[in-house]
Amino acid sequence: MGILLSLLIACGRGEADKTQQKQIAIIVSTLNNPWFVFLAETARDEAESRGYVARIFDSQNNTSLESDHFENAVALGYDAILLNATDSDGSVANARKAMEAGIPVFCMDRELNNPDAATSQIVSDSYSGCVELGELFVRSLGQKGKYVELLGLVGDNNTWNRSKGFHYVVDHFPKIEMVAQQSADFDRNKAMEVLESILQAHPDVDAVFCGNDAMAMGAYQALVAAGKDKQIQVFGFDGSEDAVNSIQSGGLGATVMQFPQKIAETAVAFSGEYFEGRTNFPQKTLVDVELVTPVNVSIYSSYGKE
């Protein structure tokens, strides 16, 4: 009788576990950038629409703070973590902590430089997007001219994926010369300052390629201040609201639209599949990006919202 009672209690507990709401921690690199705010909030909204409890944690671009969030998520018994990493190398240990505790980690947008560090990584195909942008860049310059490249955070793989894709095309054209390449940390104000400084040494550039739209808008601001916005083209990456509006009004030359909504929804969907018992996920899931130009900008909304 005692054994039967114990069995009944155990089954009841099992049922309670199944019906208890799943909790998802969304650990995002920074909420100081509207693109990441959109990513995190979309993930949260998608999770809540599926009946999960979701909470956003801001790492403020600080890997140590990100580590604290992971420790808290593990201690509080979260069932899954959606991670937008602060650093492709530095965040690996943080993700591993959760994985070792049996909590799946799904990376959003930013890669980790270790294929086993996360359950799955859902990222934009930034390299291919910048190959396409590179072709447009070369065509816009008529295969000759001088340009500046503003790089993002050097610890973020996205910086190098975008730069490599771009250079893969542009470096084939010997009459196109890069006169300066500098990091502006994906930051609008820093990009403005950096370009102002570069223009002192290289006043005769024809174009600027920026690793994200925030820097592109900062670069464009610098050109407007210098009275050179009509003669120097600026190209960005992300598909932010500012950038889309700027292209529409004849500012930026083009951007590459990412689809954070797709990334966030896929990450949440994968979490759901994990809760249902799926264990085999692709190491990397790529989401297409699309080139937005003055010709097709009217059919796009910012952040690829659908």
């Binding site: 294929p115 195909d125 390299y127 291919s128 190959v131 396409e132 590179g134 072709e135 070369v138 065509r139 893969y168 095309v169 084939h172 689809f259 797709k262 896929t266 692709p282 990397k284 899931t285 790529l286 989401v287 297409d288 990006v289 699309e290 097709n296 059919i299």
Partner: protein, 218 residues
């Protein structure tokens, strides 16, 4: 005991002898091994793997699929129909709106431009005209249009992209120059290639086809 010259010299000679032997031994041992950084070894082996995969794909897997590729105008007509399901005609690599297609056919050269050759296919209502790229051959069309090579097969995204680069380089450096040397407006050409379209934008009139096979017929 006082040392004399005769005692010191043999010791020095012995030291010199063993010293020389030691030097020769170190020299021989050093030149028996090739010391290279581990990174460079891995890089060489990755490059070899990429080259082998690109060759195998271009020479074996791709031609097999190309042999059954549709005629350009038939395909474009199908894709242009409203609400057409593109998944039956094209391949996708990623989540999104980009589709890749293969085509083959015989057409006649209408124009030779700086970065493409305009070729007319079909006749009458079935006619269409396409741009065959001759400069901007950098994307993933050739790698992805057949569906025979997937990221999971290769493992790493960097290698997967490197395969695309190898395939494109082959076309840019081997197929295009020979073709451009001989091609003239009005000539008939036999052609097979790959292109990409964005489902959101539909069939545009300025997309370029990446050539895989190009042969002047007359």
């Amino acid at each position: 005991m006082v040392k004399n010259d005769k005692d010191i010299q043999p010791k020095k000679r012995t030291a010199l002898k063993y010293g020389l032997i030691g030097l020769i031994a170190v020299f021989l041992i050093y030149h028996s091994f090739d010391v290279v950084p581990l990174d460079s070894r891995m890089k060489d082996s990755d490059e070899e793997d990429v080259a082998q995969r690109a060759d195998a794909y271009f020479l074996d897997s791709l031609p097999e699929v190309l042999a059954n590729a549709p005629e350009p105008c038939t395909l474009l007509a199908a894709l242009s129909q409203k609400d057409q399901d593109w998944t039956s005609y094209g391949k996708q690599t990623n989540i999104g709106n980009r589709y890749y297609f293969l085509i083959r056919g015989e057409g006649s050269v209408q124009e030779i431009k700086d970065s493409y050759v305009q070729v007319a296919f079909g006749e009458g209502k079935q006619a269409c005209s396409l741009r065959i790229a001759t400069i901007y051959i950098f994307g993933n069309e050739i790698r992805d249009a057949s569906g025979k090579l997937a990221l999971e097969d290769v493992g790493e995204l960097t290698k997967f992209n490197a395969i695309s680069e190898k395939l494109n380089k082959r076309v840019r450096e081997e197929i295009i120059p020979e073709f451009l040397e001989k091609v003239e407006v009005g000539q008939k050409i036999r052609f097979a290639g790959a292109f990409a379209l964005n489902r959101r934008l539909g069939v545009t009139d300025d997309f370029e086809v990446m050539p895989v096979q190009l042969q002047i017929v007359d």
